[in-house]
Symmetry: D2
């Protein structure tokens, strides 16, 4: 049986970085469908839900602190609707790819996951890099097209095309990401 | 300038695993010198202090939960004296080596660390594997001899000999680990 | 002192894959400047020259075999001008990134390399993925713009823009890649 | 179906390093059973045979050069009986573990290997480190007890005990390593 994981990238964001204003416009559009995808993944027995979030250079930050800082950042309304469920797998990352310096590959393999559904931010950065790393490791990649947010629309479009063409990623609406 | 990191392994332990009774006898001996080493490392500007702890298979566990479970485990008196300071680097690991599936290598390199001082448990398991991984990555290794605890004395002795002979680890008392 | 490595990707190619016809048109344009860059790198004491080449799924292939197959492939005139010098570092890779499953990171670090200059093929695939992996590992990235070949011009353009914008890659002509 | 790989470590050795005299005494004992294990693995359809060999710091060395240097080293009679078959998977490594900086994990996974049989040299160094890395990655480990050579008998004994106790490695005679 094919097993699927939904990997939600970097949604705990205080939006205090460069380009945060550009980014938040796009995040507004994805929060609602992403919240739906997270809920659906969480309810499905055959789907792993995994939150991976940058520690923003603070190696002492706990999960609660990352969440607290995001909820007390500039756009709490973009954070509050997509909280990582308490019992959900959560891992801090330190660079762009969700695979680098994290136990993500180990978790996916030990749970027999074949298909990785990517959601979150930023399409043309962490989502792209994570997709490439998943592909290199022979996971099938799906991108939840209405659940990924960008800073620059043109770069995001280019990143999506690169994923579709060169790593055979399926670009799907959230409603179809968990169909086998 | 040589920079040093003290890596404290798996001290947040509820001691509910096989061999925990054997292990706790040895941990009793090391808690006090280890607490001293941690304090010293924490006060030194040129020393990184990093706690790396198994998540015991729970990928949703937060740092607080790992600490809470250990403090509510069978031997809180072995946990309470060596708490990770709040602002201290902390990372969960999922297998034996502190390098596998963690950002430890990235953290060490980005802080310019050359020398890794290992402390904690278990000498002949996670300490050994972490030491080998450090050596393979060209870090110099020191083992704080009075700060590492074992399950089996004979295997620990063998592991220390292997580290000393084959990866040129220095086996030093805590008092000397931070001397350059 | 900043040290530089020139990493030549996948130039030993028999061109028997899908899209090889599209690719060879672009390779024609880059062979001459690439040969110049390789020569210059090879002569410079402070520059590492490293060839990384896919094994095309054959884990028994030797360097000579990879070279032989490429020279006996469909476009030997695109292979012959850029031979890896006999004493030059050479590593087989098995997936798209030059870092995945290879000792490239180890070699770069042990030689004190800070700056990675990427050249070869394919701009929007292996060059892009290697650039991202270099960036994640904190190497500075330069792309020798006249020494990278593509399959699809539009995807290559997008890949170059992504590298320039998001990983701060410098896109330089070969003549300037080795200036510090 | 369980699939098995036999990983032969560092048998292309010119024996010009420290401790080579101690090592060669032990290698003498293992050459014959190892040649048998290699032959058997090579003939079995359900067994992967993989040679992994140190490049001894020469990143330009080809497989032929490594073999040539070993055959022209101090103990060709320890090299000649265990040549890597021409069509056999071969990978250079740069540090002690067969997994570090190599595509070994990728090869094992893409061939569906569950069980790794380790043979070669040195029991208390590369064999030990490779065994630990295999275990951390969730492969089952067997050590072909009559096919691994040591420098120091006491350290080798300790290493074998550590593998047996802590990573659940099976220590088996070559004749039984490929039984499922």
């Amino acid at each position: 049986m094919t097993r699927t994981a939904v990997v939600v990238v970097d949604m705990l964001n205080p939006y205090d970085h460069d380009d945060a204003d550009l980014l938040q416009r796009s995040v507004r559009e994805v929060v609602r469908p992403l919240a739906g995808l997270v809920r659906q993944a969480w309810e499905r027995e055959d789907v792993e839900l995994i939150f991976v979030n940058d520690n923003h250079g603070d190696f002492s930050a706990t999960r609660e602190q990352l969440q607290h800082r995001a909820l007390n950042g500039r756009f709490p309304q973009l954070v509050a609707p997509v909280p990582p469920p308490l019992d959900c797998a959560f891992m801090a990352k330190v660079r762009h790819s969700a695979f680098y310096g994290t136990p993500l590959e180990y978790l996916l393999r030990s749970h027999g996951v074949d298909v990785v559904v990517l959601a979150g931010q930023v399409t043309e950065q962490c989502v792209l890099y994570s997709a490439l790393d998943a592909y290199v490791r022979e996971f099938s990649v799906r991108v939840a097209r209405d659940c990924v947010a960008h800073i620059h629309a043109d770069l995001a479009e280019a990143a999506l095309r690169l994923m579709e063409r060169n790593i055979r990623a399926e670009l799907l609406h959230a409603a179809h990401c968990l169909n086998h």
